[in-house]
C-alpha cells in the first residue's frame, strides 16, 4: 500500500447524503478478478446516461473539477455493500482523500487498506467548505496527515481526528497482514484451545 503523508489537490464537491457503494461502483463492474481498472466505472450511472454519454451536470464531469483528488461529500458516505471495489474505483480515478461528516464503517475501514484517507469533519465545517467551493474561495486543499490539519491556503484551516493506529499505518504504508503474522505464537496457542465443536472435519457435512 502507498503511504500517505501530505497531499494537495483540487476538491470536487458531491452534495449528496447516503451515497452508497452501489452508486460508487455499480454491480455490473464487479466481475473483474483484478484490483485495477475500476476508475473508468466510478459513479458510472451518474456520470453517463443510458447511451454512455457523459452527463455534463454531474460534478465529476464538470471542467472546473477535472483532475480533482479530494472528494467532499455528505453524511453516511459509502453505505451499503462491503465491496472494496468502491475505494479501488475512487483511487484508480485519482482520489486520495474523501471528506464527509460521517462514513459507513466497512467503507471507512476499506479506505485505509488502500491508501485513501477518509476524514470526518463536523457537519458545520463541511457546510462551510461546500460554501467556499461555491464561491471559489476554496479550490484546492492541503491535507497533512502528520499534523492532522487541512487548509486551503486562502484562510481556511481546520484540524481533524483519526484513530492513532490507523494514522500510523497509513503514514508508513504498513502491510497489516505482516503485522498479524508476527503473532504466530499467540495464534497457534489460541488454536490449540478452540472448542472441539467448532472444528470442521473433512468427512463432516454434505
Amino acid at each position: 500500500m502507498e503511504a500517505f503523508t501530505k497531499h494537495t489537490g483540487k476538491v470536487v464537491p458531491l452534495d449528496r447524503a447516503n451515497v452508497d457503494t452501489d452508486q460508487i461502483i455499480p454491480k455490473q463492474f464487479l466481475k473483474r478478478v483484478e484490483r485495477t481498472g475500476f476508475g473508468q466505472y466510478l459513479f458510472y450511472n451518474w456520470r453517463f446516461d443510458m447511451n454512455g454519454n457523459p452527463d455534463p451536470e454531474f460534478e465529476l464531469n464538470r471542467e472546473e473539477y477535472a483532475g480533482g483528488t479530494i472528494l467532499l461529500t455528505r453524511t453516511n458516505f459509502g453505505c451499503g455493500s462491503s465491496r472494496e471495489h468502491a475505494p479501488w474505483a475512487l483511487l484508480d480515478f485519482g482520489f486520495r482523500v474523501v471528506i464527509a461528516p460521517t462514513f459507513a464503517d466497512i467503507f471507512y475501514n476499506n479506505c485505509f487498506k488502500n491508501g485513501i484517507l477518509p476524514i470526518r469533519l463536523p457537519e458545520k465545517t463541511v457546510d462551510t467548505l461546500f460554501q467556499r467551493i461555491e464561491t471559489k474561495e476554496t479550490r484546492t486543499l492541503t491535507v497533512d496527515l502528520e499534523e492532522t490539519r487541512i487548509s486551503d491556503g486562502n484562510g481556511f484551516t481546520t484540524d481533524f481526528e483519526v484513530e492513532p493506529y490507523r494514522r500510523y499505518c497509513l503514514l508508513n504504508g504498513l502491510d497489516d497482514i505482516a503485522i498479524t503474522l508476527q503473532k504466530e505464537e499467540q495464534i497457534h496457542s489460541y488454536e490449540e484451545n478452540i472448542p472441539q465443536y467448532y472444528r470442521i472435519e473433512k468427512e463432516q457435512g454434505v
Binding site: 478478478v33 443510458m50 488454536e191 478452540i194 457435512g205 454434505v206
Partner: protein, 470 residues
C-alpha cells in the same frame, strides 16, 4: 466480574492479542467466501507467497453471479463464468470446500451457513459481504469485511479490529397478524435512519424477538447493516438449539449437549450496559413499504408518499426530492395506489423455507395480476428441494409465478435477472438503492407476504384487512 453484554462475551473469547492503543487481534472461527469479493484476495496471497492458514475453517459458495434459469446449460455471461471458474480454481489450489453451481448444498452464502450448521452460537464469522450480519441471529459475532480483510483472514485466520460500541434494540410486545420480522427491521431503520447504528453491534432483545423463529431472527439481523451496524446479535436459546440439532456441521449427541451448556452462557448479564438503546413496540408496527432509494425511506402501508418539504434538514429535503424523482412518485400518493410491474421473492433476507411458506399461503388458489411479472428465487438448493417436497412450487407456478434456481438473483441483479428502466418492483430483498435491481429500476422493499399479495393485486395492500375479491 463486571457484567458483560452478549457481544462483549463473544468478543472477549476471541481476542488473541490486545496492545494498548492498537486494534485487537481477533480470531475468526468461520470464513465464508464467494466469487465476487475473493479473487483479488487470492491474487494478493499468491503475490506475497502466502498460504491459506486454515482451509478447513474456510467455506466457499457461488451465489452472486449464478444464473437462476436452467442449471444444465452453460453460463452464458463470459465474465460471470470467469469469476466462478476463478473461485473454483482458487478453492482447488488452496484446498477449500466449495459448494459450486451443481452442488446440492449451493445457495446464498447467508442461507447455507445456518442451514448446514456451520453457523453456531459464539463463533466469530466473517465474509466479504455486508449481510454477514445475518449469522448473528445465532448469537455469533458475524460481520462483513472488504477484500483486503478477506486476504488477511485467509493468511492469518485473524482480523485487526477496533472494538465497536454496543446498542440494544428492545422490541417489546407481540406482532399483530400480517406483520412480520421484515416489518420490524424496516420500521427500526425508518425510525433510527441508515446511519442510526453506525459504529455499533446491535443486540436484539425483548419478547417479540424471543418469540421469533430462527428464520425470522435471521431476517432481522440480516438488515442490521442497513441501519449502519457492523453486526446484529440475538442471544441463543432453546429456539436456536432446536434449529441447530441434527444439522450436518453441528456437533452431535453428547458433544451437542456440552456445547449447549457453553452457549447458554452467551447472554447479556444483569446490569450490563449498552452504549445506546432503542425501544420498539411490536404491537404498534404496521406492514412496511419503502418509497425511496434508501432502506430508511419507508412508511406503513397505510401511509402516503411524503412531501420532501416535510423533512427537517436541507440535506434530507434534497435526498427525498431526488429519491422521489428517481422513483417516479408524487408526494401524497397512498402507498396502496402505487401500481407494480414486477415482484421478486428472494434474497438472503427473505428466501428461506418459512418465507416461501408464508408467501405461498397468500398466493394459494389465486392468480398473479396479469400486469405483473412475478418470480420466486429460493435462497438455496436445499430450500428449493424442501419447498418442492411440500408442493410450494406448484402453488407459485399455478398462480403464475416463475420458480427459479437458487442465488442472489434480482437482489443485486448481477446475473440476467434485472429490472428494465422504469420498471417498479415489490421486492423482499434488503436494498432499494438506485439501480440496485437494474439501471433505472424502482425497488420497494416489503415482506414476503406483502410481496405475494402485491403480486395478486398489482399494487400494495394492507394485509391486516385484505379481502381479495375472488
Amino acid at each position: 466480574m463486571k457484567p458483560r453484554t452478549l457481544f462483549e462475551k463473544v468478543w472477549d473469547r476471541h481476542v488473541i492479542d490486545q496492545e494498548k492503543g492498537k486494534p485487537a487481534i481477533l480470531y475468526i472461527d468461520l470464513h465464508l467466501i464467494h466469487e465476487v469479493t475473493s479473487p483479488q484476495a487470492f491474487e494478493g496471497l499468491r503475490l506475497n507467497g502466502r498460504k491459506v492458514r486454515r482451509p478447513d475453517l474456510t467455506v466457499a459458495t457461488m451465489d452472486h453471479n449464478v444464473p437462476t434459469a436452467n442449471r444444465n446449460l452453460p453460463v452464458t455471461d463470459g465474465t460471470s463464468a470467469k469469476q466462478m471458474d476463478t473461485l473454483a480454481q482458487n478453492c482447488r489450489d488452496f484446498g477449500i470446500r466449495l459448494y459450486d453451481l451443481h452442488d446440492p448444498g449451493q445457495g446464498i452464502v447467508h442461507v447455507i451457513g445456518p442451514e448446514l450448521g456451520l453457523t453456531l452460537p459464539g463463533k466469530t464469522i466473517v465474509c466479504g459481504d455486508s449481510h454477514t450480519s445475518t449469522h448473528g441471529a445465532f448469537g455469533s459475532l458475524a460481520f462483513g469485511i472488504g477484500t483486503s480483510e478477506v486476504e488477511h483472514v485467509l493468511a492469518t485466520q485473524c482480523l485487526q479490529q477496533l472494538k465497536p460500541d454496543t446498542m440494544e434494540v428492545h422490541v417489546k410486545g407481540s406482532l399483530p397478524p400480517g406483520v412480520t420480522a421484515k416489518d420490524v427491521i424496516l420500521a427500526l431503520i425508518a425510525k433510527i435512519g441508515t446511519d442510526g447504528a453506525t459504529g455499533t453491534v446491535i443486540e436484539y432483545t425483548g419478547e417479540a424477538i424471543r418469540n421469533m423463529s430462527m428464520e425470522e431472527r435471521m431476517t432481522v439481523c440480516n438488515m442490521s447493516i442497513e441501519a449502519g451496524a457492523r453486526a446484529g446479535m440475538v442471544a441463543p436459546d432453546e429456539t436456536t438449539f432446536r434449529y441447530l440439532e441434527g444439522r450436518p456441521f453441528a456437533p452431535k449427541g453428547e458433544a451437542f449437549e456440552r456445547a449447549k451448556e457453553d452457549w447458554l452462557e452467551l447472554r447479556t448479564d444483569e446490569g450490563a450496559v449498552y452504549d445506546r438503546r432503542v425501544e420498539l413496540d411490536a404491537s404498534q408496527i404496521a406492514p412496511q413499504v419503502t418509497w425511496g432509494t434508501s432502506p430508511g425511506m419507508g412508511t406503513a402501508v397505510t401511509g402516503r408518499v411524503p412531501d420532501p418539504e416535510s423533512f427537517p434538514t436541507e440535506t434530507e429535503k434534497k435526498s427525498a426530492k431526488r429519491a422521489l424523482e428517481y422513483m417516479g412518485l408524487t408526494p401524497g400518493t397512498p402507498m396502496t395506489e402505487i401500481p407494480l410491474d414486477r415482484v421478486f421473492i428472494g434474497s438472503c433476507t427473505n428466501a428461506r423455507l418459512e418465507d416461501l411458506r408464508a408467501a405461498a399461503r397468500v398466493v394459494k388458489g389465486r392468480k398473479v395480476n396479469p400486469r405483473v411479472r412475478a418470480m420466486v428465487v429460493p435462497g438455496s438448493q436445499q430450500v428449493k428441494r424442501q419447498a418442492e417436497n411440500e408442493g410450494l412450487d406448484r402453488v407459485f407456478l399455478d398462480a403464475g409465478f416463475e420458480w427459479r434456481e437458487s442465488g442472489c438473483s434480482m437482489c443485486l441483479a448481477m446475473n440476467d435477472d434485472t429490472l428494465k428502466e422504469g420498471e417498479r418492483c415489490a421486492s423482499t430483498s434488503n436494498r432499494n438503492f438506485e439501480g440496485r435491481q437494474g439501471r433505472g429500476g424502482r425497488t420497494h422493499l416489503v415482506s414476503p407476504m406483502m410481496a405475494a399479495a402485491a403480486a395478486i393485486e398489482g399494487h400494495f395492500v394492507d394485509l391486516r384487512n385484505w379481502n381479495p375479491e375472488d
